[in-house]
Amino acid sequence: MIDERFDAIVVGAGMAGNAAAYTLAERGLKVLQLERGEYSGAKNVQGAILYSDMLEKIIPNFREDAPLERHLVEQRFWMMDDRSHTGMQYRSDDFNEEKPNRYTIIRTQFDKWFSQKVRDAGALVICETTVTSLVQNGEGKVIGVRTDRKDGEVHADVVVLAEGVSGLLGTRAGLRERPEADKVALASRKCHFLPSETIEARFNLKGDEGVVIEAAGTISQGMTGMGFIYTNKECISLGIGCLVSDFQETGQTPYDLIERFKMHPSVAPLIAGSEVKEYSAHLIPEGGYNAIPQLYGDGWVMVGDAAQLNNAIHREGSNLAMTSGRLAAEAIFQVKSRRDPMTAENLSLYKKMIDDSFVMKDLKKYKDMPALLHTQSKNFFLTYPQLVSKAMQDFLRVDGTPKIQKEKASLKSFVSARSWWGLAGDAVRLARAWR
């Protein structure tokens, strides 16, 4: 394919791969980036919220030309049962700032922009090329990659594995395990197009302001999962994801799940009259801290979703991907600058840098959360939302029943559904996992 030898090969042109390739090329390294899609972004799916801070650390003036949709001024959390939602929402004019903190983006368009920056920085980016395996020498050191192109073997000092959640190459080379069904969620997503004025009217927005809604409850049919509704300029991105193991055990289908979410009386009016232009689906790492594989070795580092770096509780993934890609690149640059070899020992600098960053600190904070939500999914996603909805409705409906009697009935329904021990236990477990 190419006879040259590279300082680094980056596999994948998603958030993590683009961050790594850009950072390496900016620092003058000779970089080859390989992407199997027709273009960067062709295979990638996101909600999508972009977190400015992590991109600013890579491309400080990104706001000048990045394809940003709306800056977020409001966040809603919905706990849903079949006919209602109990909500919490936060909106602030403070978010109408000069350099907004969060934006919605259309992922494919964003990736194309980011990929152009990578090329401008001097990396050689080759799309439509699937990497089929890693090339290892006799001692197991990674020395390059094989691709599906003619004479498709290329060599480099170090390979950055930014191949996303499936981690096929890493698994095949024995660097990590295949993700387990209870540690990844399958999310499907649709793009509903509407005129921007309609979106602004329905969500109470002006100009480029945006809203995101995160939803949980009976919409996931007792499975561990969440729904989302994000506003872009001219489309609403809507989706729902649940653990693969839950799909496997319940026989629920992803397409029925998203259809039912769309038909919910709280959701249907928001997307009424829209035109659907795409249906996509993708896995999300959900195992948290305990599912993170080895992040480096002789001749390789692993970044982003490939390393399962995803904070499912806060719905953060792209920022962890960008940060890990940048840190891996900075570590490689330091090793290279010292003219040291790309051994596991030297590349452990990346692990040290990521341990010191918010990435590992946040993931560590919630390390017990995934297991808790999974084992208690019926309570957290079915029983509680139904009980909360009933209590709210009783509280609001004025029908001559004395308030004290209503309160007692609500409490009783909680206790009979879950028992005092169950309630207390769930509260303690949740508090502990959150701490």
Partner: protein, 97 residues
Amino acid sequence: MTDLSVRVEDKLYQNRYQVDSGKVHIKVREHDKPSGPLRALLTACPARCYELNDKGQVEITADGCIECGTCRIIGEASGDIEWNYPRGGYGISFKFG
């Protein structure tokens, strides 16, 4: 529920694919009666690529595959399916992601 399920083909109709004719990237191991994981794929695949044939065996038609990797997670460990990415440039191309 069936009237909901039928619509998955309509959904996929919106998507853009480059079909690599003659090359399949996912294969189902030959079987008489489908195993548990294979049966799970009938419902878990978001593009409904897996279906039962008239002999009661699970078959795949991967043309509408959106390359999510779910079937690999469910069916690769037991050897029920063999999973690869399509050749570079082929398969799904999202416009919005």
